[in-house]
Symmetry: C2
Subunit: 404 residues, 2 copies
């Protein structure tokens, strides 16, 4: 049989309904056009690579091969490397049985979606919210309801009203230095959010990849901690905590974790068995080797660098942005959020900015149900102060010329 | 509010229908009782750890940090490390665009299930089949139909009959040294299987983790290669090939891949974005560093060891098993399959075997729709010849005493 006899296999016909709901990340597609070497990019969300503790990783890799021998390269348990789970558990006053190691927090979101979301289930998300969460949940067919936010994060009063009209199963929130806005949920609202979701029997998923990267202001308790105080026991806590080593060590090892009540952890273990058996043994051991002696100094270094860069970006915006442009002033993390006058659409603006040598991410894709046409996300984490000044100046010019 | 005020959160109530379909691996639970140090275990399916190329991995880890610097620890593309995809593509006479790197072949199966299986879709599986595939597919709600097998693998005539009465979407097969039986699909049947599934528009998923580990007989072309010859172009090939570095290098790095037509790869990239963003950068680079200079000798070493161990197990079975017990003689891989007289149920037999100091896996869980109560899987990959002789002697006694 020759190639001319064989029609192409009709892949469209066999893709599941779930598969048809999936799309490529809009941002990922957009990043391709912004990756010209002559463009200063605030579009990505990459941790600063020049700060990576390369020598410490090299040393840790060698140490775990000495200490564990072939076990460092063998299959291991789905739950994860026990010393790492013990270390995480001790920090949160829970037991290792409440901790599941994951292959990046993207997997945490995927498996939570898989385990919790039936087609049509109402999932509450911030407006705007983390795009990666929408992408993980999407195949499971959620019905999103957007919760309004302001400078202090989720508008809890608006949420309370919503809860009287919608039967939600899950609320997804990024309380610290949110991606994309850089905003932080206030303490009072944290308490209200925990109480409100507990009373309504709603699973509260707290995504906290940036919490350790606070450069100004005081650390606030996690929703998980507040939930634990309220419930009295980790198995009664309705808050599910997701975090990762990607922003506080390195992302390329893909090590993350979930803290939750054991009945949920038990289901996540089953989901993970079918999803990838376990997170790479070697990588978990390397991370466990680094958490005590390397991570604290690494966090300090990253905090200081990101604090300087965020400060520079805010200063540059004050200098170069026209009146009527608003922006958040983050207390930590990697992002800030810019709101332009209503008449400007940031999607076409991106082309003009790239022509002037600067890139950002338009804000609209971060809204599950639309909105935010006049917003943009800027990342300062992997640009130098000098690049930030030049890039923001160019962006200011772009905005001015669009306003004219 | 104190702990007595707070009822436990009703996790059962919020678990999705999909989540309720999931279960822990029966084998995984069983392995716990067989992991006593005084028990010789043929139950697990672990590659021999004493053969792992530890020093080569250490060196490769250091080399990639030198060569790529922070990029080895940074986020990377969902498709995977290009040099690794190029190397794999060249071997299969396809392009890197037909290759997707995965976090273990368990992820390949999960994402194929996610992308292809709608609830109620008919999925054809061998009887018996790889349990991990059932676990990956299960949450997506397939309706399994079992295809009979004999010593030469899938009974293609029986399959043809089945295809007239069932509307199947996907057939899952392990043609080389199948897990659990150790059987190999003959060349003639490979050709028939490829032709038959192509004509019926059925996706043929070929899982081939052990193919390189042949210790006797001649290598046979993969279903993927036959599908490619038939179709004339990789984008028209209806065979999807899944394999992994777990058995030919080390499992603890979790590096695997899928070869398929680009329309399917395109969907798998989307699925993987939501599932874990990408396979750990560092691990992919380490594997790419090892495939040329270390892997060929490693495969040779593993083949020789497994060949000796399989030979020893067959000899010991000839010596110690009573008449009426049948077993397969594998030409490669890690497993063989034992069929006892009908009146014996291997599930209760396991307890008696463990009491005599030897463990196996009862065969029933490998049948998607039941059967095989009198079968068992034995793995010889990680036992010494001396342990094999002692363990098989003890198992022979156990069988004899059950037959009495």
């Amino acid at each position: 049989m020759t190639r001319t006899d064989t029609p192409p296999f009709a892949w469209d016909r066999v893709v599941s309904a779930r598969g048809q709901r999936m799309n490529s990340s809009v941002i990922r597609e957009m990043l391709k056009i912004t990756q010209r070497p002559d463009v200063i990019s605030f579009a990505g969300g990459l941790p600063a690579p020049e700060l990576f503790p390369i020598e410490a990783v090299r040393q840790a890799a060698s140490t775990v091969l000495d200490r564990y021998g072939p076990a460092a390269l063998q299959y291991s348990t789905t739950e994860g490397h026990l010393p790492l789970r013990e270390w995480l558990a001790a920090r949160a006053s829970i037991t290792p049985q409440h901790v599941q190691i994951m292959t990046g927090s993207q997997q945490s979101l995927d498996l939570l979606g898989k385990m919790l979301i039936n087609e049509g289930d109402v999932v509450l998300v911030e407006a705007p919210t983390y795009l990666g969460a929408l992408q993980s949940f999407q195949p499971y067919g959620p019905q999103y309801v957007q919760v309004p936010t302001d400078d202090h994060g989720i508008d809890v009063d608006a949420l309370e009203t919503l809860l009287h009209t919608t039967r939600a199963k899950l609320l997804y929130a990024v309380p610290n230095f949110q991606n994309p806005t850089g905003r932080t949920l206030s303490l009072e609202r944290r308490q209200q959010l925990v109480e409100l979701t507990a009373r309504h029997g709603i699973v509260l998923v707290e995504d906290d990849p940036y919490g350790a990267l606070r450069f100004t202001g005081e650390a606030l308790p996690s929703l998980y901690t507040l939930g634990l105080e309220r419930a009295g026991h980790p198995d009664h806590n309705h808050v599910v905590y997701s975090s990762s080593f990607s922003k506080v060590l390195v992302p390329g090892l893909r090590d993350a974790w979930v803290q939750a009540a054991r009945p949920l952890i038990h289901k996540l273990v089953q989901a993970k068995q079918g999803a990838d058996l376990h997170t790479p043994t070697f990588n978990q051991m390397i991370v466990a080797e680094l958490v005590e002696d390397v991570m604290p100094a690494q966090i300090e270094r990253v905090r200081q660098a990101y604090g300087e860069r965020a400060g520079q970006m805010v200063q540059s915006m004050q200098r170069h942005f026209p009146a009527g442009v608003q922006y958040t002033t983050p207390q930590g993390g990697m992002f800030l959020w810019v709101t332009l006058p209503e008449q400007i659409d940031t999607a076409p603006l991106l082309q003009q900015a790239v022509a002037r040598g600067v890139a950002f991410v338009p804000g609209a894709p971060f809204f599950a149900l639309g909105g935010g046409h006049n917003t943009m996300r800027l990342s300062y984490s992997s640009a130098t102060p000098e690049q930030i000044e030049r890039g923001i100046a160019a962006l200011g010019e772009t905005i001015r010329s669009a306003l004219d």
